[in-house]
Symmetry: C2
Subunit: 257 residues, 2 copies
């Protein structure tokens, strides 16, 4: 582990969310070189969105003695402006979260928290997204501090050849009910949406998205959903090469069409 | 191929973009059961963002005789509201585009066009995103019609076991310069951002994101970037399982930390 590493902290719930403050507290155990660049407003569900055709604002502030910047953009914008404008050198680690709500299985795709971590990985920086399976703004994060410490310790001690991005989710149960850490794969799951139709005072319809989470393989013990439902901390290594390599040979006929 | 298949058309440049009109024209050769649900405003770079904590509008309109809806949300919202609210049955195919600009290599992650296609795949529908490597609103799409026709024909004739989502990019060269179709993998590439700092009339700074595209493996002939730079149509099969399966064993020590 490098002495006094430089660690970038971000999230998608916004710079004032309790989750990011909890994460900063754990990061302080490793270094005093911490910079926070996080959205100035909630950015949940922003996925890997970036701000095109609009400008960004960056407002310097202080979080209990830690250098911090509130950014008007998305979580991915925060990582981009942090690494290319705010920081003077490449950070040793990007940590994102702690998200208020699960980012397991297919949620990794929709999540601003995880997209910020993936952006770090794209830029060649080991990155970790942390999420607690509890959406409440008043959620208790204290029971996960020691696990975050273990995982950051592992990340700083292992070369980036072992991983580039980790998706870490914590079950929302007390510390003594957690059964440990499971390294697992993303479960095959999805959201089945329903759109709640309403009418405004002028009689025009509008829609609220609601959804039901469906796990297509609840019995598979190597998935993050299984780990979480059995009170394990789930750790899924994530990549940004989304090529379906197994389909390449099956598509070769297309070249002769 | 099912007779008169149901095909959903969307994009990220917005429902009035020339690219989507070109795509609709090709789709008409296969069926008269076409429904368009596309953003009511440009949504480039929106990635897999979804609209949370806000309502959506849907405005019915007609595109030269084709049933169409302008949606106030993101490209992924468009697919979600189309499949769960607008369409009465599951479509046989989702097509997205034709995007004004490349979505090759790492751009697949940032692209609203491709995220709409990936959303279709998540919902179990074969899906294809089409993009032309020319950002101009006045780009000529006529030379790619026959290739789109070939690829849609292939998709409708092959079971979803062969692919779930395709990322198709067209070089911006005349028809007789195109060397054919190449099935390839996503190149290892990234954007190196620079943030252009300016000051508003009150003296406060703001930033414009600019970037330089860097291909880490320009010599690799199996990548989409190589194909496009050699005037081939690139076809990359895309998946939504982002687990880095090759890293699972390397991380097992984390379970004993």
């Amino acid at each position: 582990m490098r002495k006094n590493p430089l660690i970038l902290v971000t999230n998608d719930d916004g710079i004032t969310a309790p989750g990011i403050l909890n994460l900063i507290k754990v990061v302080r155990k490793f270094t005093n070189r911490i910079v926070v660049v996080a959205p100035d407003s909630p950015q949940s569900g922003m996925g890997h969105a970036i701000t095109m055709n609009a400008m960004l604002r960056l407002k310097k502030q202080d979080i209990e003695g830690t250098e911090a910047y509130a950014c008007s953009g998305t979580p991915v914008d925060c990582v981009k402006i942090a690494t290319s404008k705010v920081l003077k050198e490449k950070p040793d680690l990007v940590v994102s979260g702690i998200n208020h709500g699960s980012n397991s299985s297919i949620n990794v795709i929709y999540s601003g928290t995880m997209s910020a971590a993936v952006e770090g990985a794209i830029e060649g920086i080991p990155s970790i997204g942390f999420s607690l399976c509890n959406h409440s703004i008043d959620a208790d994060f204290s029971h996960v501090h020691s696990y975050i410490e273990k995982i950051i310790h592992f990340a700083l001690n292992n070369s980036s050849s072992n991983f580039s991005c980790l998706n870490v989710n914590f079950p929302a149960v007390p510390f003594d009910m957690i059964n440990g850490i499971r390294v697992c794969r993303q479960a095959d799951a999805m959201w089945e949406e329903e759109f709640n139709e309403r009418h405004d005072p002028a009689g025009n319809p509008y829609y609220w998205m609601t959804g039901k989470f469906v796990n297509h393989e609840p019995e598979k013990e190597d998935t993050d959903e299984w780990a979480l439902s059995h009170n394990f901390v789930s750790v899924v290594p994530v990549q940004f090469d989304v090529t379906a390599h197994q389909s390449l040979a099956l598509l070769k006929d297309l070249e002769n069409e």
